[in-house]
Subunit: 237 residues, 2 copies
């Protein structure tokens, strides 16, 4: 059997914490490809990979090392045509990539505006300074994380409203992909897993039945792959 | 041969002017189904249809009358399985509907904030009072169209920025659907045709090559279905 390792971003409590890692975990489960998880922290990445890559997920399989979640997905489809396909064909693939640039890119920014400090506080102690300095410099023009998230409760209604497209889609079927989950579900669910791994502010109202049912369905897939008692509740009360 | 009529929204200059009609026009062309266009103005809808429907497009084919663009698309796929399919399967269909609620819903609001008064001014004279009163009451809480669009030039950069997901997708292939156009292309292109039918403010910068090339490719499909000399330029200069 080929050795297959997935390098994942880990927090102080041991939870996997990247929306990009979560989508790949689900992709591997979808394709029925078991893997060994290699949890590393933010500051381990250069130690482990040197200049070869700056982000996780990284998939190592036999002699192959694949960086970037879309590259990993493309590799998996190519290398394992005998396993369940992630995409029914090029049109579905193109549409999922379109969803990724339309929806995910917008929502990850909105979630970051609520949870940037929670991520910092949940990181391993030795990763916190790096996380703070790199994020404040790269994304926040030097604004401290504390200032950036201040007053976040007031922004919560607008973020919840931005999730309306998911609710509209889920009113038509149990998954974003329709009757069965597809990679769009894995992309979107990864965002919520990321929040649940760090959150100190419930993201959703407890009566958000459309989304909460879907989150529960998603967490239950592949033997409960998304369930982890160390995660925080995504809804109030 | 079955008679097939598409009821379309028409402006004073005779141009078809609804983003929802345009997507259906392309769907009919994709399926190689010829149709007779029936141009009607805003205030003709109750005269023609009574209580049966309040919006166009409406497709009449034989004894069937189908209202709403998605209902029409579903009907066409069901009624004409011998013609080229609009969707490769249920997963692509689900993904295109997701694009419709994620992207289209947001962009149509942004475009309306730039062009609401242009639509009014382009409508047939007998439709203008109805358009103004219904839109100001329904969408603008009584704000006059003139006030609503005032200072629109300042909002143009943000609207252009909101089109970035299309550019990112088009960097990967000639159409949103990949190597060939799909219904996501028709949905998005319909928005631009709507703007081009009324615009007095160029939407795009002239160096927006990614989008301009795609618009040109889209307009040229099906014998130049999207080209109309009465339309306004979408870019500056």
């Amino acid at each position: 059997m080929t050795s297959r390792r997935l390098y994942e971003l880990v927090l102080a409590n041991g939870v996997s914490a990247s929306p990009f890692v979560w989508r790949v975990r689900y992709a591997l489960a979808h394709k029925e490809l078991p893997f060994e998880s290699v949890p590393i922290g933010f500051t381990d990445i250069p130690k482990v990979f040197g200049d070869r890559c700056k982000t996780v997920p990284v998939l190592a399989e036999g002699d192959a090392m694949v960086v970037d979640s879309w590259e990993i997905v493309n590799y998996l489809e190519r290398a394992h045509p005998d396993r369940p396909a992630l995409f029914s064909g090029p049109a579905e693939y193109a549409m999922v990539r379109l969803f990724d640039v339309c929806f995910f890119a917008d929502i990850i920014r909105k979630f970051f505006s609520l949870y940037a400090l929670d991520i910092h506080d949940s990181a391993r102690p030795e990763d916190r300074t790096y996380f703070r300095e790199s994020r404040e410099r790269r994304f926040l023009k030097g604004t401290p994380l504390e200032t950036y998230v201040a007053g976040r409760e007031a922004r919560l209604p607008a973020v919840r409203e931005a999730l309306t497209p998911l609710r509209l889609q889920l009113a038509r079927g149990p998954f974003l992909g329709g009757a069965t989950p597809n990679y769009a579900d894995y992309i979107a669910f990864g965002l919520f897993q990321w929040v649940a791994s760090v959150s100190t502010l419930p993201l959703l109202a407890k009566d958000d039945q459309q989304l909460l049912s879907w989150l529960d369905r998603m967490a239950g897939l592949y033997g409960g792959l998304g369930r982890d008692p160390r995660m925080k509740p995504l809804f109030e009360g």
